[in-house]
Each structure stands twice: as C-alpha cells, then as structure tokens.
C-alpha cells in the first residue's frame, strides 16, 4: 500500500516538473503549446538512449535530456516566435511539431520505432524526484520574480504596451519557451527511468492536454496553483481508479467550466503563502476564498 502511495506521489512529481515549466511559459506569456509532450518525449528518449545504449551515468543523462529539450524548444521557438504568430497559429504550429516528433520517433532506428525501449534502468526514485522538483520550482520562482519575469508578465497583459516600454517580446517569449521545454525534457528523463520503458505512443496529445489543463485550472500567472492542480489531477483519478478515458472527458469539461465561471483558475495571479492561508480562516467568505 505504501509502495502504491509512493508510486502516485512519484508520478505526480514528474508531472509537477513538466507543468511548472509550462506554467512559466503559458501562464506568463499567454502563448499556448499543444506540443509539450514532444519536449517530454525528446528528454525521455535522449536520457534513455544515453543510459541504455551508451551506459552513461544517470544524472549526466538527465542533464543531457534537459539540455536536449531546451535546445529543441529554442530551435522551434526561434522561427515561430520571431514571426510573432498569433496565439492560435502558434498553438497549431506546436501541435504539428508534436506530431512530427512522434512520426520521427516511430521511424528512427535508434528509438526502435513503435516497439520502444524496454528495460531502461530504474534509477528514478522518490528522493531524486523531490530534489529535482524542488530545484525546478525554485528556478521557476526566481525566473518569474526576476527582470525577465516582470517583462514576461507585461507581455502577457498587453504586448503592445510592453513593446512600447522597451520590453523585447521575442526574447522574453523565447526564454520562457526554452525554460519550459528544458523542464519538460527533465521530466521526460525522469519518466523514462521511472517506468523503465518508453514508446512513442506514450507521448500523445493526452499528455499535453493534461499539462495544459493543470496550468489553466491552477491559474495562469501562478506557480503554486498549477503545482497543486497537477497533484490533484494525478492523485484523485488514481485514488478513485477512474478509467483513463473518463479523465479526459472531465479535463475537457473542466477547461470549459473554468473559462465560463472562473477564468483566473484556482489561484489566479496569487501564490500559496502563509498570509493567504491565514486569510481563509480569518475572514471566511469575505474575499479570502482561494
């Protein structure tokens, strides 16, 4: 039983790492990625191939996976963000990118196609995951509270005004995308060494959807919101043993309901802090609601 609980927590933390990255990108630049599963897959395959075929050290392979995710994110972001694609054009471009990566993974010899890579060493454990997610959340927190973060928020709120004030929109968005792709790559590497088996069909739109839903539900413009939402999204269906297919039905419905009733999400632009928690108890029902 304890094993099972640890399993759920581990899976939750892997997704927390990826979602934190996406929160920095989507939540703080207002652009949508429908292809984040592809960065996840690139990290997973890079790390797994390095330990599997070349016998690399696990931690070095993780770093390589992170770097690979970030690099590909940079390479994809450079042309698309340079062109200042509209939000929806950008989303469809990332959707196409995700599909292209899947086709590639299914046809390259080194990835062994649809058969996948069985028997990767299972080096990912709970302490590693805890340290990794702490580092990622700390990095994200610092990033959004830096000069870059303030610029990114300005871009999200009104990019024309931001540009007038001298914010480099392109660089702001590109940095955010690279960071989030690197986070997805790291999560991918951890994922591969946790399940010891990867194949292209694991990294589908389902994964991208789950991450996006967590960011939207948690609140765009918050780090703690998406983190909490991810843990809820992983934990509740696992605890209730809901079939995968109904989870997706619920995610879809949830996205619509949030947009209709509470577009700011769980946390809105705020973060979970002691003051906030104290506020809930002091003034119940008077602006203190989450």
């Amino acid at each position: 039983m304890l094993q099972y609980v640890f399993g759920v927590i581990s899976l939750g933390l892997i997704y927390v790492i990826a979602t934190t990255g996406l929160a920095v990108f989507t939540g703080f630049t207002g652009l949508f990625s429908l292809g984040h599963a592809a960065f996840f897959a690139i990290g997973a395959y890079t790390a797994a191939i390095l330990t599997y075929f070349y016998g690399w050290n696990f931690y070095l392979a993780l770093l390589a996976g992170t770097a690979a995710g970030g690099l590909v994110g940079f390479a994809i972001g450079y042309p698309t963000l340079k062109a200042k694609l509209r939000t929806d054009y950008f989303a469809i471009a990332t959707l196409g990118f995700g599909e292209a990566v899947r086709v590639l993974l299914e046809n390259l010899p080194i990835t062994q196609g649809a058969r996948g890579l069985p028997g990767i060493q299972g080096d990912t454990n709970l302490p590693v995951l805890l340290v990794a997610s702490a580092i990622v959340i700390w990095a994200a927190w610092n990033l959004i509270h830096s000069r870059h973060g303030r610029a990114a928020i300005a871009i999200r709120e009104d990019f024309v005004a931001a540009e007038m004030m001298g914010v480099d929109i392109f660089m702001g968005r590109l940095r955010s995308l690279t960071f989030s792709a690197a986070c997805a790559g790291l999560a991918g590497g951890l994922f591969a060494h946790y399940f010891c088996f990867i194949q292209p069909s694991m990294f589908t739109a389902y994964m991208s959807t789950q991450m996006t839903a967590a960011v939207v539900a948690g609140g765009m413009g918050s780090i703690s919101g998406p983190v909490i939402a991810t843990l809820i999204f992983i934990g509740i269906p696992e605890a209730l043993r809901v079939a995968n297919i109904w989870r997706l039905v619920a995610y879809g419905l949830l996205l619509v309901l949030i947009m209709v009733f509470r577009p700011q999400g769980l946390m809105g632009y705020r973060e979970l802090s002691l003051d906030l928690v104290r506020g809930w108890f002091r003034r119940p029902g008077k602006g203190g609601k989450p």
Partner: protein
C-alpha cells in the same frame, strides 16, 4: 498518373474547403480559432451514420438530419461555452481554451459512450469508378465535389445578397459598429454558428462516407484548419482556395514521396507559409488585435 492524382486531390480538397469555410466563418466574426469545430464535424458524421444504419434513413434524409443536428450542436456550443466569455469581453486566449476543452470533452465522450470502433457507412454509391481515358474517379468523389461546390456557392450568394448576409459581413469588419446600426449581435452570432454547424454536417457526412467514422476523425479537421490558415483565416474565398490547394498538394506528396510524411508536410507547409506570409493568402489580420 498526374491527372489521376490531381483528381483525387481535388476530391479531398473539396471537403477540406467545406470545413475550412466553417472555421473561417466563425473566425471572421469572433476573431478566434474554434478548435471545437472538428468535434462538431465528427458528431455530424456519427449522426449521419446512425440515421442510415439504425433508422434506415435514405442518404438524403441522413444528410439533412446531420446538417440539422450539427447546426444545433454548434449553436449550443456557442451558447454554453462562448457566450458568457463574449459578454465579459474575454481575450481570444480564453475562447481558445474553452474551444479546446469542448473538443477534448466531446471527442472523449464519444470514446467513452460509443467506443473506439471504426464504423463504415453502408454503400450508397456503388464503389464503381467513372473511367475516362485511363483516369478513374469514384462516384462518391464526383458527388462530393459537386455538392461541396453547390453548398459553398449557396453560402456565398446568401452572404452577398441577403440582408442577414450583409449583416454578417458587416460584423466581420466591426462587430460593435454593426451592433450600433441595429443588428442583434447575439442572434447574429448564433446564426453564424448554426451556419458553420450546417457546413460541418455536410462535410462530416462526406468525410464519414469517404473514410470511416471514429472518435478521433476530428484529427482530419486539423488539416481543414491548416487550409483555412493558408487561405487566411476569416476569408471565405481564401478558405476555399486553401482547402483545394492543401488537398491537391497533400495527395501529390503521398503519391510521389511517401504517405508517412504527408501530415508532417502539411504542418511544415503551414509554419513555412506563416513565416513568409503571416496573413495567409487572402487574410487581413496581421497580428492579434489589441
């Protein structure tokens, strides 16, 4: 071989054009990409299929039922998922999330309730081909091309000649001024969605007859979206040209290169075109409105 490929391309391009027009119609009024449209087309296909198989309806009755059903669904989609956002003047990002949520919800609801079976339509047109000098074309394809052309022409006439059509075109330029001139925007937007839904019914029926009916057939409609973007979102002639162009190009790629790279080709084409011509061929929006 060349003429044959061209004809096959035209047949699929006609259906793309029909769907792309539906996308563009909604975009021209509300200025966001209605990603839920693909699942409306999918449901239209299911309606036609079940009308023919379970109710034993003839082809024309199934087509009408599908048109009515899809129009109603598209209308309801707007009223439930978008109208409150519209009243709040939410940014197009929120519309897009809501649309994505609707798509995920509907697609997976069909998965969960009806299952992932592939249904094939009963044979309406004998699967014979019309041959002429070694070039063959299916009877269904001819019918699809003719019917698509007629539908698009009828829509064009409606938009150009009728009072309501003029109001729709006015709204696509400036919806607020349109409202000041005494147009009931709420009713107008409802009508536009119903029109787009009717097109979804037609294209869904043909799509189901040409291929198969299954929950993720909405994936094909991503192509229609690409077609609409290539033509310039919001431009109806652009959508028609983009649809036919994409259909023909794709068929040539799968005939002369490989059918594996077909989808990757379409997405790469989209990104390349957006880099060179961000407005598409006939578009008029350069960047997102402030």
């Amino acid at each position: 071989m060349f003429v044959q490929t061209l004809l096959t391309g035209l047949a699929i391009g006609g259906i793309y054009a029909l769907m792309a027009v539906g996308y563009s119609l909604v975009f021209s009024i509300l200025n966001f990409s209605n990603f839920a449209y693909g699942s409306i087309i999918m449901l239209g296909s299911y309606i036609a299929y079940f009308a023919m198989v379970r109710l034993g309806a003839p082809m024309w009755a199934a087509l009408i039922l599908s048109i009515l059903g899809a129009a109603l669904l598209c209308f309801l989609n707007e009223r439930l998922a978008y109208s409150s956002l519209r009243r709040r003047r939410a940014s197009s990002l929120f519309f897009m999330i809501s649309a994505m949520g609707t798509a995920i919800f509907l697609e997976n609801l069909v998965y969960a309730l009806i299952g992932a079976h592939f249904y094939s339509f009963p044979e309406v047109f004998a699967r014979t081909n019309i041959s002429y000098h070694g070039v063959a074309i299916g009877v269904l394809d001819v019918f699809a091309i003719v019917f698509s052309s007629v539908t698009i022409y009828a829509l064009h006439t409606f938009l150009q000649k009728s009072r309501t059509g003029i109001a729709i075109r006015a709204a696509s330029y400036d919806i607020q001024v349109c409202s000041l001139n005494g147009v009931n925007n709420n009713a107008l937007i409802g009508l536009v969605f119903a029109l787009a839904g009717a097109l979804a019914g037609v294209s869904g029926t043909f799509l189901g007859m040409k291929y198969l009916v299954y929950p993720t057939m909405g994936w094909i409609t991503n192509k229609a979206y690409i077609a609409a973007v290539i033509g310039g979102l919001g431009s109806l002639p652009g959508a028609v040209v983009g649809g036919i162009l994409l259909g023909v190009l794709e068929t040539f790629v799968s005939a002369y290169v490989s059918s594996v790279v077909r989808d990757v080709f379409s997405f790469s084409l989209l990104v390349l075109l957006l880099l060179v011509m961000p407005t598409g061929l006939f578009g008029r929006y350069l960047e997102e409105k402030v």
